[in-house]
Symmetry: D2
Subunit: 354 residues, 4 copies
């Protein structure tokens, strides 16, 4: 068994990591870290979890290195930055779910993470990206930085256009819609049920750092070849559910495209990928992609539509922000890191309706 | 007292019309029409309504003309088309809430309302538009066609840019987010609570007829002068609440603009308008515009934001789709039609939280 | 105009008081008090409210007595206790929405409000009770203590049985179901949308102080005559909506009763009361009482059902906890205090669906 | 592999059966039956399901007997009754999730299932009950009738009192609270999102057939010994979430009890049972039992509380109505039927928050 630890055990992503790791046949949970709730058992914090795990939350020290083969950091970016500095050379594998090491371009990092001091040496050692696109860089990767939840959906939605078809996109407008679990368990009045339920809260109407992260990555990957993105702008809204997000990407291509070719290109791009489901908008009785159809699972559902009236491409991508957008993707990356089949421990099907 | 009738009394917009008319000091409800639920009292259909109204649903005949001064049609477009043909010359004032007479351009009408036969003679007699923009055409208007719920928000959001500032917009992308009451009470599996709750349902991802309606109107109003809209495309989503919608409009101007000038232009454009509240995104502890802040009222909250990274304009407009998007706007238009102050009977403040 | 002040202006009940008072034809809002958010305008705190009120939150001092004829205290019980001590003899009318002065029996007060020191002299001067039951004590009452939200529903549901029919009830079991607005805006993890949405939270499974309050009141009113309540126990649950509550009262009568007589007794008991709607469970297409049918209004919907299998009486009572359970009832009581018709400013009909 | 078929594949319980069976290591899905949606693939009906199952919905005939070892009937009671008559002697194992064969006492069956003709011969061959209580009757059982969703929670909550402690209960009041998935996918206006969201719908205020079923079973099991239930009455409410239910059972014991002994008795009664979690109400930061803590899993969370003020016992039981209340319990029973470990294929942990 591969020994796994989770830091940030009392948060929502931490809770889902515990959930997934206790269902995993090859990982064994041996450490739970956190700065709050020290001494608490997981089931006290997350009443869904099994009561017999035999672990409690501990403060993190260097010694954790003796107790884990892989350490998942489900911590705020500044905490992740500090823990990575402490443990990067001590723990065989470190998987960071925060934004601390996502953006490579220095100016962009400073713009979007002004409170997280950049550590250039460390930053360059991290492998960044959704496993579907950087799979061959993950085996034996010591440091892994996972994309944000929106960034995962956005990248999986755009990559077949730019990296796959090599389409140049002049203008890309992203409208992100997320449930309340995206905000974690911080105590803010706007996240109270009484104020959030029924809301459409435009919490980031003129920009979101996950878009910056995606632009940074796609530009790097395109490497000057075809598949450029001109203007990429995003707005983000909190809507009235808990788990799951949808990114609506409205992309204007430099040259005409057609529906059939687009759909085929997506099928081809994701052929054999276990966690990306390319869907036809019309294939089900219920419109998809919709986050409710992936709830609790590691799937990302993607569809591509051509709007002939405006000659624009509409890409919809839905995922569970706590699974494919966080804990599940972390386990997926760790599976690849340790040479396990990618789906190990992640075969649970979505729970719907919920 | 002005005698008022409501056809479509068993539907959601019909119910809200009854609610508003029973609170109205100058209108008296004298007729309820419908093809289903004939004989039912309003409180049986809508358990919120007062139990003592003394009216029941009746089939509509020509004779209704003797019993009302104004007739509100909260009926599906084909029904409205037929009733208008029957009653247009018999009833002093007819206010249609459906799409039957909204689009003036024949090809557009046929594209978006293929099942509603166009009646050119009748269509041209209807005054169309949100009262804020066509106020001086409403007194003594015999036939009034009200914009769709999305169209109201979209028009109120865009008009200060195009009709006010005369800005030419090259590309306009609209992302509409609506609660489930927008779908009425038709029995469709996708509108069951079990399937709709928690969903982000992309039900019209590549186009919505309300956008066609707005393009038709704004083009006509601009009349070839400045304030053109190049490409206008819309996608619409059902999200997990009941009442209220938000339109997010992402507009790319032909020339640079700045935040302060935009906000001032909106304040100026809507100065003295009782039902449009121009809001600063940062003025409240809770992000606005948000439909929850206008629930149950006739307000439309609007804000304009400049995104310097992409040189785009973000316009947010929120309204209660059953009030400012339907019944309230109908009463507002009827107030103007009969020379009453615009706010008469519409002074209720939004109910929040709900 | 009667000058009115609201203390606790930043809370949910405070917000609804401002909403109702700005719609009221006879009250004029002249003071907003609070200990937090001093200097903020109401529309910053409650984005639904009108932006032009010309008032901001101020700290409360004795001087408020010069500026108001009636002061509403929408404050926590300890704060209300202190403010009442300060202002009881200075302000013409004080209406307290908290629990500070609800329970008359000393031992019960100490049991359920251990942190609110009892002030016997002051306590006895307060008129307690729902206006429907203590109407003739309200004109000229200087000090009014309003029942809790659950207590209002529970009392209105039980009174026709005990005070009306004089039924002796051996066992009464109350199951209360409330939305999240009942918890106010305190920052507790359990009230975050992510944890509260979809929950059925048994937050008070073995007793609730509102039941104690009702027992105290009904016992006092019955005054040893028929209409006794043997065991009265309550459990309370938070369910997944925002505004409104339902009390389900399961009462076992000492002697047999029948459905028709019960319903008639309720109709008789509430005849002419504008805010209590006695409903037949079967009269609408939608089961009632249901809080959604009274949302935003001052109605309490009540129904009584006889369950022949168990010879028990089921009483259902639904109200909007922020209106009939708080702000609306406060205005109703103040109307009576100042000799106005009870419905003044409270004629808004429920907003449904929402 | 054991070949499994599901009839009623387009419904909610059918969908969850497919979900669980495709995750199950020992069952292989070989047949999908239904009368509607014939020819549809599962992923068209349930967009969460895997797209590659290679099965489509078929009409059910006798020939299904050649293709399955076990057939799950997730069909309405009248359909189940007919299919059982057709297939009882042909299929090795038949697991019925409907109410057709739940009630043994003829008068009770006729009272609560008037439209389902009773088949005494067949009825007596069915093993009824939650697996936790009838485990030793399941191996080799040819016909299994599963309890209703409420009945499962109610029985698991009451059994330790009556069958375990042998307590006589004079009065038992049950208040059941369920999400909208309990109503299936039938098209009823009251189940539309617009009308159901935010509701507390008293849909069965004076009785529910699941309580009759439980009374029938517990009386039979007590077999005249201690552990009697005097009056057992139930009321049921639809609240504003989708998946999961809570039964609140208020039981008045004939003799005094105390908290500690009650809790211990529950721990003892369910010792070693993998799917019943006895919880202390105070053990978590979030009140439990709450259906959100068991969502998507086969757990039933139970707690017992003594209310000293009224000398009553409060039992709370929460489960996922589609899993432990339907599909999961069906798989659990089938596991036992075929000699597999009870947990096989059911080890998924609850998804929370959702």
């Amino acid at each position: 068994m591969i020994r796994a630890g989770v830091v940030g055990a009392s948060g929502l992503a931490g809770g889902d990591l515990i959930r997934l790791l206790t269902q995993h046949p090859e990982f064994e949970l041996t450490f739970l870290g956190g700065s709050s709730h020290v001494g608490r058992r997981p089931a006290e914090l997350h009443p869904n979890l099994r009561q017999d795990l035999g672990l409690a939350v501990e403060a993190v020290t260097e010694d954790v290195a003796d107790r884990v083969d892989v350490l998942f950091l489900a911590t705020p970016a500044p905490v992740s930055a500090d823990l990575a500095a402490l443990l990067a050379d001590r723990v065989p594998a470190l998987v960071d779910l925060s934004g601390a090491f996502r953006i490579r371009t220095p100016e962009l990092h400073e713009r979007w993470y002004p409170k997280v001091q950049r550590r250039p040496d460390l930053a360059e050692r991290f492998v960044y990206g959704v496993p579907e696109l950087v799979r061959d860089r993950l085996p034996d990767a010591a440091l892994i930085s996972l994309p944000g939840c929106y960034a995962t959906a956005l990248t999986l939605g755009l990559a077949p256009l730019t990296l796959g078809l090599g389409l140049d996109l002049t203008t890309v407008v992203v409208d992100g819609k997320s449930g309340s679990s995206g905000g974690g368990l911080q105590l803010r009045a706007t996240d109270l049920h009484a104020l959030r339920n029924g809301a459409i809260a435009p919490y980031a109407p003129t920009g979101h750092r996950h878009a910056a992260e995606v632009g940074d990555f796609l530009t790097r990957e395109a490497a000057g070849k075809a598949g450029s993105v001109g203007s990429l702008s995003m707005s983000a809204y909190g809507v009235s559910h808990v788990r799951g997000l949808l990114t609506s990407t409205y992309a204007f291509p430099a040259e005409p495209v057609d529906q059939r070719a687009l759909h085929r290109a997506y099928l081809r791009f994701y052929k054999g990928q276990p966690f990306v489901r390319v869907r036809r908008h019309t294939e089900t009785l219920i419109p998809v992609p919709d986050p409710q159809a992936v709830l609790g699972s590691n799937y990302c559902d993607v569809s591509v539509l051509h709007d002939p009236d405006a000659d624009r491409i509409v890409v919809l991508a839905a995922l569970d922000n706590l699974v494919k957008g966080a804990a599940g993707q972390a386990v997926q990356a760790a599976n690849l890191r340790f040479g396990l089949p990618e789906e190990t421990g992640l075969t649970m099907q979505p729970v719907m309706p919920a």
